[in-house]
């Protein structure tokens, strides 16, 4: 069996198959789909963060023009069960019920309380304003630390102290390491709340065949297979009756993995009314009703030797769950739990997380999910340690890098391949580090208004989610495998049928490259089918940088099965021994002759089945389900140079260098694009974005006007390069790239800002490092 890729397409910067329709306005997003008889749903949402619902009256709405139906949460409460949380992380976890529409109490601003259905979008919206709701507002708590204080308002009456769970991961003699440490650092960081802001808002369209009860749900999701199962769990519909379609999906970044109330509402309405029902989220609604990310307070302590060698890491997290648990809300901090030692090698490790309910939009996985938080904490703390021991941050990192792979970390997982020195070396080279430091020194010497700061992040992440056995050990409700099918059709074109579906990640192009090379077919002759549970093999969908290191590897194995069967057909047809056949570029050749047979010819022979080996099944199709034996471990070094205007507080990135090791690369252009976008979201956390609640629990940053999603004008061009250590865990040697940029970039930026401000004695700045925050920090330092 050949185990090397023939590199005709793999590794090449091939322009995307996906583009033609998207560039010409032919994308098929949910809101572009209309079916006959369709009506529109609009939800009525609580304006209060915390309130008893005393009375909901839909009678005026029902009397309004074009209205088909209107329901309260109480009307529908027997139609469904609680929305699921798939990850009860601990034995002590509290999982209060989460109904799609609230009945007695609203627990965050945006909690749905009623729904109106009308003939058009505008009429439904008009009528929704006629729904009368009488609330008795209650005191709300939105701050994750205040929620734990005695006397804090309780989000759920039966959850004391708002404490959802505690979870710990401890290895080695941590107390001893701290007692013996020559140097320690103790830092507190705040991961502000973020709002994902996929540019396409969510949307759901449900159509039901009255005669058969077959249900089709077209929904803007990253996870059609997970949703199919969830609809069964919540609504009691037999899973085999449900078809979920993720059409073109306009970005997700984790926010569209979730199982949302609106899906359940729309399906329930369609069943009740016997008509297709559509709901399309408005942006201001998205700010309230789509999951948020981060919102964690981190305490991190390092124990180190006098020279700065880290011996132990101790972390305490207080993580906001929001008002309810969504699909994997409690598990998000766990996704980072192994990474608070970063690229380094502490021998003792202690991670504790407390999950806390607050009267806020539920949090869940947002790009990077747990790993950006971990990387931020360790990379900031390493800079703090460097200051304390008087070393350059580069030197301190080098002193501490883990080396020698595979390498089992103190926290207990095994990193299969990495080379931190190589990434750092390359980043320093691109940056021209000495020169930038010299310019920084000059500006400092002359008291320039615009000061330079240089920040680093040498990171490692665990992704390619995930080995099912490990997920099971963590009490996660599902597996982490992925399924891929290949059909070689009678005339030699190929369909790849995928359990993972894209929303911008370029699956069609990437997977076509792999298959074209393995099977020796034209790249153009590979079609990619996905995002429809009636078409795709059951899979675990798209998140956690998993599509290539799990799905792509499944595809590789499926292609091996095709080749193996085609080889048997070729041997039979050519009257040769399989051992006498050579395989290259899709063609089997009898050694030393010009006799041969192409996979495409074998496909035709397999189809007519006139002359197959005894006992062979006709057809040339194969499926493979791949469960990864390990996580994948992208790593690298990001370096950022910021210019801080000390008069205005404005921090601008003037250089951004990213050197990532994502293993082997199938398409460098696509990989670069993933890195760029990831960096932009990480920079956004560092400098621009923050969801703010006021004392009453109103979301003060409830639109794109005051929540600063950065535009092209705020962001720099990126200098992107790679080093490669192929993953030995899978035959493609790939690691995944969807999250690296976001995981790596935030601490690089903030380390640079702090470095720029260090002449003032400033050692910390909260995120986002807005002009106001930077300006105030400078003013306070000057006093």
């Amino acid at each position: 069996m050949s185990s090397t890729l023939e590199k005709t397409h793999v590794g090449q910067p091939i322009a995307r198959k996906e583009d033609a329709k998207l560039l010409q306005g032919q994308g098929r997003y949910v809101d572009n789909i209309t079916v006959p008889g369709m009506v529109w749903a609009v939800l009525v949402r609580s304006p209060h963060a915390h309130a008893h619902i005393k009375r909901v009256d839909v009678s005026k709405a029902l009397a309004a023009e074009g209205v088909v139906a209107a329901f309260t949460g109480a009307d529908l409460k027997d139609s469904w069960g609680s929305l699921p949380c798939f990850w009860p992380v601990s034995d002590d976890i509290k999982m209060p019920p989460h109904l799609p529409l609230a009945v007695d109490k609203a627990r965050y601003q945006g909690d749905g309380v009623a729904v109106v259905v009308a003939e058009t979008r505008a009429l439904a919206k008009d009528a929704a304003e006629l729904v009368e709701v009488e609330y008795e507002p209650l005191a709300a708590v939105t701050d994750v630390e205040k929620a734990l204080e005695p006397g804090a308002p309780l989000v759920h009456d039966d959850v004391p102290s708002n404490r959802c769970y505690t979870w710990a991961l401890v290895a080695g003699e941590v107390d001893k390491a701290f007692a013996e440490a020559a140097v320690t650092v103790s830092e507190r960081y705040r991961q502000q709340r973020l709002i994902p802001n996929a540019i396409e808002p969510r949307g759901v369209l449900c159509e039901i065949s009255p005669a058969t009860g077959d249900i089709t749900v077209i929904t803007s999701t990253q996870a059609p297979h997970i949703l199919r199962t969830a609809y069964t769990l919540v609504l009691g519909i037999p899973e085999a009756k449900i078809r979920v379609i993720a059409p073109d999906v306009g970005g997700g970044f984790g926010s569209k993995v979730d199982v949302y109330a609106e899906d359940m509402v729309v399906i329930t309405l369609a069943r009740r009314l016997g008509r297709p029902v559509k709901w399309i989220e408005e942006r201001s609604e998205a700010y309230l009703a789509t999951i948020h990310g981060r919102d964690v307070v981190q305490h991190i302590e390092l124990a180190a030797t006098a020279e700065g060698k880290i011996t132990a890491v101790r972390t305490r997290l207080t993580a906001a769950m929001g008002a309810y648990l969504q699909a994997v809300t409690p598990g998000v901090p766990l996704l980072g739990a192994w990474l608070y030692g970063g690229a380094y090698d502490p021998i003792a490790y202690d991670f504790h997380c407390t999950g806390v309910f607050t009267n806020t939009t539920p949090t869940d996985a947002y790009r990077g999910a747990g790993r950006p938080e971990a990387t931020y904490a360790i990379e900031r703390a390493v800079d703090a340690l460097a200051r304390k021991v008087g070393k350059d941050p580069v030197e301190l990192r080098r002193l501490n890098f883990m080396r020698g792979f595979p390498h089992t970390i103190a926290a207990g997982l095994t990193v299969d391949a990495a080379d931190f020195d190589a990434g750092l070396d390359r980043a320093l080279e691109i940056l021209d580090y000495e020169k930038v430091r010299a310019e920084q020194a000059e500006r400092r010497a002359r008291g320039d208004v615009k000061q330079l700061g240089i920040g680093f992040s040498t990171y490692i992440e665990m992704c390619g989610l995930a080995p099912s056995r490990i997920l099971g050990a963590l009490n996660y409700g599902g597996g982490g495998w992925e399924a891929m099918s290949i059909r070689v059709l009678p005339t030699g074109t190929v369909q790849v049928v995928s359990g993972t579906s894209p929303h911008g990640q370029s699956h069609a192009t990437t997977f076509s490259q792999i298959v074209a090379d393995r099977l020796g077919v034209a790249y153009e002759d590979v079609e990619f089918l996905h995002g429809d549970t009636a078409v795709s093999p059951t899979g675990f969908d798209t998140y956690g940088s998993r599509s290539l290191p799990v799905g792509g590897v499944a595809l590789w194995h499926a292609s091996e099965k095709i080749i193996d069967k085609a080889r048997k057909i070729a041997a039979h047809t050519l009257e040769a021994s399989e051992d006498d056949l050579e395989y290259a570029g899709g063609r089997f050749t009898v050694k030393g002759t010009d006799k041969g047979m192409h996979v495409k010819e074998a496909a035709f022979a397999a189809w007519h089945a006139h002359n197959l080996p005894d006992g062979m099944e006709p057809g040339l199709e194969a499926q493979h389900v791949y469960d990864p034996p390990n996580f994948s471990w992208p790593s690298g070094c990001h370096a950022c140079v910021v210019e801080v205007d000390t008069e205005t507080g404005d921090a601008r990135i003037v250089r951004y260098v990213a050197v990532d090791d994502v293993g082997n690369v199938i398409n460098p252009t696509i990989v670069d694009g993933q890195v760029h976008g990831g960096i932009a979201q990480g920079v956004a956390q560092a400098l621009y974005e923050e969801a703010v609640y006021d004392e009453q629990g109103n979301l003060a940053t409830g639109s794109m006007v005051n929540y600063l999603v950065p535009s092209a004008a705020e962001l720099p061009s990126y200098e992107v390069d790679r080093t490669v250590t192929a993953s030995p865990t899978n035959p493609l040697g790939v690691k995944g790239v969807g999250e690296t940029g976001t995981i790596a970039s935030t601490p690089a930026v903030i380390n640079a800002v702090v470095d720029a401000l260090s002449p003032y004695g400033i050692t910390d700045i909260d995120m986002p490092a807005s002009p106001e925050r930077v300006w105030r920090a400078i003013q306070e330092a000057r006093q």
Binding site: L23, G25, N32, I199, R283, G677, A712, A713, L715, S717
Partner: protein, 156 residues
Amino acid sequence: MRRIALTVNGTRRDAEVEPRQLLVYFLRETLGLTGTNVGCDTSSCGSCTVLVDGESVKSCTMLAVQADGRELTTIEGLAQNGSLHPVQQAFHEAHGLQCGYCTPGMVLAAVSLLAENPSPSEDEIRLALEGNLCRCTGYHNIVKAVQQAAGMGVSV
């Protein structure tokens, strides 16, 4: 209802519209031109950008009745005779799109920019596209695409 007549992608269209209807919903729901996307409700994201008499306009900031007598180009009208417009071609070659949702608006904003300023600097491109948000690309390749299109010489 009000009667309006306008030209969309070279074709005259006559329609009865509600006075309160936004241009973007007229395009999408009355004319079926769903290539123009809606990404926000505050005129912030630019996904719904179209050309009105050659200038880029966020079609959620304009009422359909205000388009009476105007000439509109939407993303569906940009490619000619089966060939992508140079800006579309450049977005393809430079990998200036991922999920594609912001793309129609981004492409039309770029077309409008290049009509006004055929050789913009990187800073001018970034500033001109400030009203169009993309969450996937980090803008790097969008800027490259516009630079590349500028090199190709673009007309509306």
